[in-house]
Structures are given as structure tokens and as C-alpha cells.
Symmetry: D2
Subunit: 353 residues, 4 copies
């Protein structure tokens, strides 16, 4: 149930109401929007009568029922207002939101050594990226493939952060590593293969760092939103949804099918910000630029792009990585679309000497 | 095999060579590009030696083997030069090509009556469309559903053409109707369900009107290109490839999954122009604008958009149709992206009084 | 609407009622079952009242509404009684039905020459097959691949029929060939790629030979049944539904995913007989035997199995074809399951000397 | 690399060789088959020469290279001999293997209370099942849905085991629960959603209980085998592969598409035993019997079937659960096919008074 308060409702009245809801066995969550305050109610509301709830206070404007299986992630839960995931980084806070300029995340699939990660960080920062991505713990199909440098890679990510001030995004595969990862990372990534690892979702929901939730390879939109709901239900409201391509019958040229229609679909269903990953989404670096352009035109809030100083020697995902030079040029191409749709930050691409 | 001639090769030498190839049992096709002339060779070339062929004339620059299963539609067959499908319409010729401004095709799913089709034609023309789409013969899942008005609908399309000068695109389902359809239509559409109706492909390949070939619901890129190859092999070089969404595991919100990555994929494989149909591709009018924007940013050559004067009363596909008003606004939104990527024709959207 | 007559209802009363239905603008179809007669009504019945219809005659037992989009193919339309498709062949009539012994169809993908087709026919007949399959007109992905020997292959099929008395199944791709094909074939096949070629469905529905309707590569069960409905609606009640594998994300080992659950699903929805094609369904001869065994255990009415005298030299589909020797052994393996589930005809496998 | 020893090779020679391999930096694993002993070698073997290795001992019959990405699970690794997973239960050891009689696992989706689980255990045992399945920790799409009774459910499974002597199979979702689960369970299940939870795979690989590895919803055969390889590589050779339906475009009637062709495909690739779960595989109890019959005919080693004393009141997966009565009848139906293919244990279904 969603309780929409009148614009001028006094804070004490909202607190009083919340206490009353708690006594009724419900969990109220106050969401202060730009124009209104809304109180989301989670619990056994199926039998409750919206009109009776409305009688609890003259400051209630409306009581609405959420029909969707997901509650906290639904658009209705914030009365239509997109949420803002604000992430502190050494270079200052960065906001992921439908209201904010596009945020670009870039970096290699895995952290290989200090030189490569610090150098890549410098290059992607210069081109306008706000976050560095880089895998320390890597989910690999084969037990014999490179599994990431693990903890020592976390130190290298810290070094890259110190050197550039960029925010860090890295993946957690095992809840046992979560604490260590969160000492370094600014956003915790849950990968596609773990999208329905419900134990892990509960644990990233019970800590404070924002969570990047990648869509599972064959997850429906509803399953994806329900996975996000696990995180919000565990107490963490800061979730970013990342589309990275789905599995279909056709993978001869593009490794996955990048489902860009999730942008308008999610916009109509949820208040959470959206990221598109055209690198995993296509699996081939030559397809990345046009899909990145398309994602911005379709309204994404963020992009994740793989950049590696030497793609042909990458320990993983080389074929889908751009060189720093190509990434640099891409950012200039993206700025054209970004400016056209008013989502490009003033002057993000410094002229390189 | 592709025989690339030197830039200054004399026409008589090319003719002489072609005659020689014919004697060898091959079918030579001369393709005059902007910079060079290329001779495509179809036939039993598997055993032939490229170097030996090169010795046939000092005017040959290079002989290349096409490794792909498709030959005539391959990029190599035109030595990398995109083809131009030029379609005469009462308002003048319209070019579909990677080199030309974006072409917008709009109109209803089916032709319902004269008023609606002529009125829709007027509205979409005013908004900047160059072609009117409208179904006379409709492929319907149920034998009991409205099957299109057939021949009488062709007359109504003619009336709309007379009234507006727009080009016409309509679908052929049965080769027996092809002649009648071609009296009216400027582009013949082969629908998704008939993409591998090889008898029909041979017949549209044996006539002169350009062909719009929709991708089958579960066709791979290679199968789609091979279907186009059937048309070219039958003698018709004017084919436009139209992506209209593929069938995947997820159709709860969007009816199909619009596979926009076909744009860079096709660009790397074929010289044929590309059209995107976000209306069938998503099945819901509210998702159409952002997918149309994305398609332009990704580099499509053309868009097909369903427009109906009264979508809620449409005899078919109402939920995915825009009203003329919404289409009008969309064209202005599209012009922003179209101008940004330099694919928007000068002044296509007249200011409406 | 389904009008179930009382068991002892007089024929004249049923005729009188049918005339009355016709006057009401409906199309009545009398279906004489083992125990009861049922009158199916097609037309604008949405507004009609079942109880009012029941008042039309005291011999009516019940009036039922068919809620499904398909009517004539629905189980309700025959009041739950499976239909029997009886096909005359030189060796006598063969029945495809849930009530009849399993029918095995075997033969090569394409008819290559007289020796191979007559020899194959002899071998599969000796092993217990009742029908010979063999392609005269072949749907091929490439315009440059072998397209079948066409009309001359029909003569070879006739020769094989004359030599063995087997029934013939061959595919129609173009309505223009239908008449010639029907001079030879006993069952007309509509292939997977033409499952929604509605023009062709109407035409095979308007002739007399039974139709084998293969499921489209990505057709849902409902779409498949609606395609069958086109044939029944056009006047031909003799349709056999053939599952031949669907297209999914996984085709590394098996070319398609054979969807055997269609057997119980179709049984709950339609009265039409079912055939399973494990050769196309898996694409590899070594997987065919276990899938054929599974299909019988699951309750199929019929099997279609590719057999070629020399698979490694086959002009098409070699990898999925069994040799006559392997087919012979397979039939003996199948008889074990067939006897266990009581669907094996007495003594179909003659002991080979 | 696979080192096949001659039949009469002395044990000491095999030990000596193994030591030599270890010095070369390889990990040798001795596999004693029915007829021969084979030594599997894992490590950096890409550069090694098979002929040179053969010179290491006159008792070596052959040295073979495994070309597949999976090594320990490959059929070659055991020189073609199927493995036997022998599971001790109070009623005696039960063997899962291509050589052993079919093993039936049955029980409810989740453990609801003591009466229901003990009663269900009694009923399925009486009908011939060897294992009881029952979820204590349940992976649920919604955080608000019943998540299983957790630890207390483990006690109830123990009670059912004590009462009947059946082996227990239950799922682990979180490595933190593994120890507690293994105190009760005889086989640890890794569910479809965790098939690529590589951290969990490593942990179940590092303990002793056999592992049931369900196929992920959109996992290819190779990904599935690689997931099993993670478990074997971590030291646990006892893995059973369970097909439970894949996700495709069609889920209107059956919830998933049961991919029975995995039976011959896996048989050609791996030595591990196979289980089929027609309950999840179809999602509807009325489709379960025919798919269970099909699975046996196709050669499965084991079946997992959901049984609930009152499916319409089940806390989860009611629609796909059989009643104990229906399960009882099903076992008698299955015995017909099981006996026909020689995979039914003598007298497993006691005659019920």
C-alpha cells in the first residue's frame, strides 16, 4: 500500500501515522520526494481497506494499492518519482538517476596488475568516466580459467582510486568476501549468474554500499525486479539495474542480445536508475559504439564499457574491450547524442593536449 | 569470387573479361561503385585459383574469395560499398542507403477504409514520412480474425497515393496476388512469417519492385541474409532488411525483443540498407519513441512506424499504433537525434500552422 | 459452441436442427463419434445463450462453449474423442489416431534417384514402416544448395510406391505444385518454415489429401493449433500434427530441442493425431533411437525417421539419417517399448532371414 | 591427458608413474574401472607430447588427449566407463549409474510439517522410491514468499529418514548452511539458479556428500558440464546431473521445456549419472507421467518426482505435485517401461493390500 501525504502535511503527523501503522503490524517507509512525502507500507495488506486507512488522518491525500509482485522497487512506491542513487567518490558525489547527467563507468574485465589498472583509470578518467570497473573475483565458466587475482586485486583497485579519485565498481561472488570488497569498492556488483543467488542478495541488502544488479542471462523483467526487491527488502534502497544482454537463439555474431527496450519498460515499472552494458551485451568491441549511442538515445542513466590497454592480451573478455584511444573517441561521439538529449554533463571531455 | 578492377580499367576490358568468365561457366555481375568497378562471380568457384584468375587481365587489381555462405548480399561483393535502393514515388525518388538521409515509413497495420487511409497518409506526410504502409492482405494467427480487405484495399492505397504523392509499402502473402499488388505498391513487403517461404522469395526476386524483407521471428542473421540472397539470386538487387523484433523467453511487457545490435552486425556483413520497425519490435506504442530514437543513434537507414487515427478502434495491432498527433511529436523528437548524427534531411518537418 | 446430442437422437432431428442453425447464420458440422453425435457450430456465437440453444430440441443433451481461440481442432469440438485420420495406401488403409497402433514413417530427406528411393522403400517396409517420406521440393536455407529434383522426383516416389505399396508423404512448398504432388502423395506435408504461410494452409485445406503439419521452429502450441485450424476451417479435417524440434539457446550438440511434452499438452487440447520427428528434432542420428523410444513411451501416435542408404553421401541432412541396417535394429528396439505400452501392431517386424 | 594402463599393469608401477607425473607438475588421478585402470592427468598438458609420455612405462597401453574444455567429467577421463555414485542410506547403499536399476526420488517441494513429511516419506517408500526430496531452504522469486522452514525443516527430514530409512536430498542455497545440511542429507542439491554460483560449487566440491547438480534455466550442455567440473576439480567425484527443464519462448502450457535429448547427449560426453525431473520440467502434474515414462525409455538413470499429500494446499509448487495415490499408480506404470528396458529393480513395488 502507498500512503500519499498532502504536500503541507506536518512531519509529526507523518511520524504519528507511521507509529500507528507499526502497531497494525506493518512496516512503514517514509519517502521524501521533491513535491510530496509518501509512506510505503509493506506487510499483510491484502485484506486492508484503502478507504479505512485514509480515515486515519486528514493529511492523507490518497491510499493506493500496489498490484505488482514487487513493492519497494515499483514506481508507485515512490509515487512516480525516480530515485537518486548518490555515490560518494574521492572526486565528489556522483548521482545515478533519471534526473541526472549520464554516468559512464569504464575499465577492464579483470584487474591484471598495478600498471595496467592505474593507467586504465587515468585514461578513462581523462575521457570523462566517473567510475572504474575491474574484476578482482571473476566468475568463469571453467575452473581452470583465470579466476581473478582476488584480494590482492582489491589493493590495486585502491591504488587506482588513490591515483585518480574515481569511484570503484567490483563484483562480489561470495558473501564471505563482502566485507573486504566493501573496504575498497564504492558500488558492489552482483553479476548475472548470481542474480537469483538469494542468499547473496540478502547480504548485499544488509550492508550500506550501493548495489549494481546485473540482469540474469535469461531473467524476465519481473524476476529481475524481484531480485532488486530482495535487496531493498533487506534494507538497502540504493540499487542500480544493469542490462547486459540476454541469451537467445542467435549468438553467432553478437554473444548476447542486448535488450534495449528494457529502458522504456523499466521506466514504466520502477523508480530505480538504469545502466546499460554494451560490452557484455554484444561481446564484440566493434558493436559497442553504436549500442552505446543507442542506449543514450533510448534514455539510459548510465553506461558500463570495457576498456583495456591491450585487448588482444587481456586475461579475459579481450574481444569486447575497447582500447583507451577508441574509448576516448567514443566519449566524443557519445557527447553528441548525450548533448542532443540533454543528458551530457557540461564539459566532461577535457580537450587532450 | 570478387574481381576488383583497377580504377581506370576500360569498359571494353571489363566486358571482355565478363564474356570470358561466362565461358568458364560462371555468372559475372558488374557492380559500378563510386570509386571502382567490381565483378562478382557466382558459380562453381570453390576449386578455382584466385591468382590464376588475376592473370586473365592486367586491369584486375585483386581477386577475392567470399567465405560467407551468402555471396551477392555480402559486403565484399560490392567491395565494401553500401548499396542504394532508389524508389521512385510521385513525390520524387527516395533513397534507402547508409549514405542517404533517414527514410520514415508510417501508416496503419491494415487499410480499413478510404477516409482513414487517406487521412492517415496526409498526416504522416505532413509530419515528414516518405512512405505509407498499410496492409491489404494480412497474415493473422486465427482464420477467424480480420484478414485484410484484399484487392479493394489496394484501390484505397492507390487513392492515398494519389492524394499525397507518398510511396506505398504493402505485404504480399501469396504469389498469386503479386501482380495486382505491384500495380499499386512501390515496395513489396515479405513478412516475418514468410521469410523462409522460398517459393515466394524467388517470385519477388523475379519482378522489378524493391523488396522489404522482414526478419523471421526466430531467424538468425545468416538465415535472414540467405533469404535476401534468394531475392538477389533471382535477379532483384533492391532489397531492404527490416528488423521487427525476435522471439525470446521474455514477452511479458514487450511483445518481442527488438534486436538493435543487428545494425552494426549487418553493417559489417552486407551492403544492403537497414530498416527498424519499433512498433512490431515492442508491440506497445509507449515503447516506440525511445526505440525509434535508439535505432537512429545506432545508425539505421530507415524506420517503420505504425500510425492509426484511432488506435483503440483499430482492426489489428491497435496497442502498438501511435496517433497522428503522437507521431507528429515523435518526428520532432527524432529530428533531434537525426540531426545530431547527420541523417536528418534538411527541413523534413514543416512547421504546422 | 458444441451441441452434444443424446445417444439415441434420430438422424432426422439432427438434420432439422442443423438446418435451423444454418438459418441462424451458423455453420453446423456433424461429428459422429463412437458413442454420441456432436454438432459443432462455427460463426458469431459470442452473444448466443447456451440454454436458449438447448431449448431448440429435446434431443440435445448439452450445449457447451469453446473458450479456446481454436474451435474445430479443440478436444471439446469432438467432445473429447480423438479423431482418426485414415489414409488409403496400396497396402491398405492406415490409421493415425490415439486409438490406433503406432505408425512409422521412414525415408530419406530428399529423393535422389530411382535406385536409392526404391531400395530405401523396400528396406523400411521390411522393417515395418507404413509410409515412405522423401522430398521432391526441398526448402533450403541457401539458394545455391540442392533444391530437390522437383517433378521428376515425384515420378520416382510413384515408382517406390508401385514397388512396395507404401503410402507416400512429401512436402509442398508452393501452392502451384499442389495438384501434381497430390497425384502421387498420400499425405501432403507442410514444412516448419511454412507453418504460418496462411495462403498455403488455406489451399491444402481446400483439397482432399490428409495434411501433415509440422510445427514452426518457434511456434507456440496455440499458434500451431491455429495453423491447423486454418486447414480445418477450409474444409479438410484430416490433419496430423508433427513436432520436429524447436529453436532454443542451445544447439551445440542437438540441432533443435525436441519438445516431447507436446504429447501430453496436445492430448489435453486437441483431438488431432500426433507425430514426432526425432531426426530433425535432434539433427544427429546417434540421438534418434533414444528419442524415438521416449516418444513412444510418452504416447505419440506416429514417428517420422530419416533413413538413407548411405548417410555420408546424402545430398541433404546426412548427419541425422540412419542407415537401413540401423533402422532395422531400431524398429526391433522400438517394438519393446511399443509392446509395453500396447501401441505396437501384431507382428509388424518380420524376422529377417 | 588420459593414460590408459594395460589390463595386467602392476599396482606399484602405476604408483611409480603417478609419482613421476607429480614431479612433472601434473595432478594424476587413478580411476580403477571394471576392465582397466586409467590415470587422468590434469595440469599444463597442452605442450606435452603423448608419445613421449607413453615411453615412461611399458605398461602404458595408450595416451590420449581430452579435447573438451571439461576434463574430469568427460567420458574419456574414465575411458568410456560410466561412473557409479553409490550413496549409503539407512536402507542400504543406492547406486546411481548407467549400469544400475533406475532410482526414484520423490517428495514435496518444501518440508511443511512433521506429519506431512513423514507421511509422504512412508507413501513414496511403499511405492518404491529410494530417496525423499524436500526443501528446507527454498529459492523463491519473491522475498515475501515462503522461504522454507530452514534448520527446523532439517530436523523434520531427519525424522522422516528415521521413520522410513529413505535417503534424503535437500538443497543448499548458502555455503554457511552446508555443514548443518550435511548432518542430515545424503545428497546435497545445488539448484538451477545456483548452477553457476562458482563459490558454492567449490564448497560442495570440498565436502564428501554426493552432489545433485541441477541444470541452470538457460545453461548450455557445456556450461552445465563445466559447473560439474568445478565440483570434481575441488575433490568430489560424486556428481549426479539433473535436467529440470529449460527456458524457451513457449511456456503457456508447460512452464519449462523438458530437454530429454540431454540423455543421449550427456551419455556421449560424460561418465556421470543422469536424473530427470519432469515435475519442474513441465510444471503441471498431468504432464508428469508421460514425461517420466519418456525419460526411462530414453535411458535416464534416475527420476525426481514431486509428491505432496494435498497438492492444492501446498505452500509451493502445488500444481506440479502428484498425490501419493497418483504417484503409486505412476510407479506401476513406470515399471512397465522400466522392465521393458531392463532398468527396473526386481520387485520394487510391493503389492498393496
Amino acid at each position: 500500500m502507498i500512503v500519499v501525504m498532502k504536500p503541507e502535511a506536518p512531519a509529526e503527523e507523518i511520524d504519528r501515522l507511521s507509529a500507528e501503522f507499526r502497531e497494525m503490524g506493518l512496516t512503514p517507509e517514509k519517502i521524501v520526494g521533491k513535491h510530496k512525502t509518501v509512506v510505503g507500507l509493506v506487510g499483510e495488506t491484502a485484506e486492508m481497506d484503502a478507504l479505512q486507512l485514509q480515515d486515519l488522518s486528514p493529511w492523507i491525500e490518497q491510499v493506493l494499492r500496489v498490484e505488482k509482485p514487487y513493492k519497494r522497487v515499483s514506481k508507485e512506491y515512490r509515487h512516480g518519482e525516480p530515485s537518486e542513487v548518490v555515490v560518494p567518490t574521492p572526486n565528489g558525489p556522483v548521482t545515478f538517476s533519471a534526473f541526472a547527467p549520464l554516468v559512464v563507468v569504464a575499465g577492464p574485465c579483470s584487474v591484471e596488475n598495478e600498471t595496467m589498472i592505474v593507467e586504465t583509470a587515468r585514461r578513462v578518467k581523462a575521457a570523462g568516466a566517473k567510475f572504474l570497473r575491474g574484476g578482482a573475483f571473476k566468475p568463469r565458466t571453467s575452473p581452470y580459467a583465470f579466476q581473478g587475482h582476488g584480494e590482492s586485486a582489491l589493493e590495486l583497485l585502491q591504488a587506482a582510486k588513490d591515483a585518480t579519485g574515481l569511484g570503484i565498481i567490483t563484483e562480489v561472488m561470495d558473501a564471505a568476501d563482502l566485507e573486504k570488497i566493501c573496504e575498497v569498492t564504492d558500488i558492489v556488483q552482483v553479476g548475472a549468474r548470481n542474480m537469483q543467488n538469494f542468499s547473496l542478495l540478502k547480504k548485499v541488502g544488509a550492508q550500506d554500499k550501493p548495489v549494481l544488479l546485473k540482469r540474469g542471462m535469461s531473467a524476465t523483467i519481473d524476476e529481475w525486479l524481484m531480485a532488486a526487491e530482495y535487496i531493498l527488502a533487506a534494507g538497502n534502497p540504493n540499487v542500480i539495474l544493469c542490462e547486459r544482454g540476454i541469451r537467445t537463439f542467435d549468438n553467432q555474431y553478437a554473444r548476447n542480445t542486448l535488450d534495449l527496450a528494457v529502458i522504456p519498460v523499466l521506466r514504466s515499472l520502477t523508480h530505480l536508475p538504469i545502466m546499460i552494458d554494451p560490452s557484455h551485451g554484444t561481446g564484440k568491441s566493434e558493436y559497442v559504439p553504436s549500442m552505446a549511442m543507442a542506449a543514450i538515445a533510448a534514455g539510459t542513466d548510465s553506461l558500463m564499457i570495457e576498456v583495456h590497454p591491450n585487448p588482444s592480451k587481456a586475461l579475459s573478455d579481450g574481444p569486447q574491450s575497447l582500447t583507451p584511444e577508441r574509448f576516448d573517441r567514443l566519449m566524443q561521439e557519445l557527447s553528441i547524442i548525450g548533448n542532443a538529449v540533454n543528458r551530457w554533463e557540461a564539459n566532461p571531455v577535457p580537450v587532450l593536449a
